[in-house]
Symmetry: C2
Subunit: 250 residues, 2 copies
């Protein structure tokens, strides 16, 4: 196994003798970006234009399992949260992914991205290409949100703090390196440019408000590390299956 | 213990040698109305105008625990349901209860009903009057929806088939027997006159579509019986606490 396929560098969890201020807590969570899967070799290959069409197809078909898990994990958070005011905002995430009518929403946009990359809709929807490791990681996220306190699950969503940069790089990389992909297929990435900052802003405000003790701040760190592992595990499995060796031999 | 305080008459679960047709299944489920808590002595007293103001206050303060559990059980169903098309309709139930802005939605309407009955908002919101048996029943419903297959949880919602009749009787009873209650406070009942038929129509269509085997039809019966027990247990606890003896001695 090469170093590039090993587990992600562990995030910088601070040692706390006393609770951090909300601002310091936010800074500490943002510092976890060093473990974000944007840094995974597969994404480096993607952004450098070094992935083949079949490799991108493997990626997009697998990631649908994660996209489909998102509304279920967000509903699990709603189910555990006793505050109607929190639920009233959080529910928008489910609407964003499921849409308001057939043919709308983030899941549908991801399927269209798959079609733009040349994967037939049927092969996306029946998940025939989805690797067990990807499915297990996505389901681990749903289970985490079902079984942990709702504010921990909110903290786990804060990888969205790091998403807009990744989305911008993807949009640029596809335009530059993969011109055969219909621009309309990239609508999912563009939608996340608006949604991710709104969502991470709400999530971060809740964590700042509710995680005011050493114990709850450690739980927030643990939750965000867990989610970083989920994303890393998925892209790692995809990398092993489709792109291992590309770096050395492309 | 008197007969009137005993468990509800068990619903008429049919013996199946073969799956029922969808129409026969719907008829069989509708026949469970004989176990609906509209038949509980407390509701009879309510509709006959024989409840005092403190008894109505005890009822309305306790039932808030159930109203507050509803969006969490509906979110649990979303979390377990893999079909975005089902989720897209089911999510409206959460919006109905939580509202779209502070001061809107079914939970808020129930609190205003409490205020109309003379329970201060603070005493409603802090749940100081909620009996353990009521809380356990409401939480049992959330747990059922979290842990059972989503279609079973949908079947458990079908007490809504029986709700409009009860709402109409309540609205009439309040107008006739409790004229001191501000009509605006009854907005919750009026809202359910529209929502319950829409919701039970969706729920029943899903059960007709998905429960096509003997095993799944028995599960639907079991789920609806469970939910009837939840409602009965709550009103029974309220009756014991506030109205026991009213029938004999009022």
């Amino acid at each position: 196994m090469t170093a590039s396929l090993a587990a992600p560098p562990p995030p910088p969890i601070p040692r706390l003798d006393a609770p951090l201020t909300p601002d310091a807590l936010a800074d500490a969570l943002r510092a976890f970006s060093t473990s974000y899967y944007a840094n995974h070799p597969f994404h480096q290959l993607m952004h450098e234009g070094r992935l083949s069409r079949p490799q991108l197809q493997g990626w997009v078909a697998n990631r649908l399992a994660y996209q489909r898990a998102i509304p279920r994990k967000d509903a699990a958070i709603l189910s555990n949260c006793p505050d109607p005011g929190v639920r009233r905002l959080w529910i928008q995430r489910i609407v964003d992914h499921d849409g308001t009518a057939p043919g709308t929403g983030g899941i549908e946009m991801w399927i269209r991205l798959g079609e733009a990359l040349g994967v037939p809709r049927e092969e996306m929807e029946d998940e025939r290409h989805v690797l067990p490791a990807v499915r297990f990681a996505a389901e681990a996220y749903v289970t985490f949100c079902r079984t942990r306190p709702w504010i921990d699950a909110v903290a786990s969503s804060l990888t969205e703090l790091f998403a807009p940069d990744l989305m911008r790089r993807r949009i640029a990389a596809f335009a530059e390196h993969y011109p055969w992909v219909d621009r309309a297929g990239l609508e999912y990435f563009r939608s996340r440019l608006d949604q991710a900052p709104r969502d991470s802003g709400h999530g971060l405000a809740l964590v700042r408000q509710h995680c005011t003790t050493v114990e709850t701040q450690y739980r927030a760190f643990d939750a965000l590390r867990f989610k970083l592992d989920v994303l890393w595990a998925m892209i790692d499995a995809i990398h092993h299956a489709y792109a291992d060796g590309t770096r050395a031999g492309a």
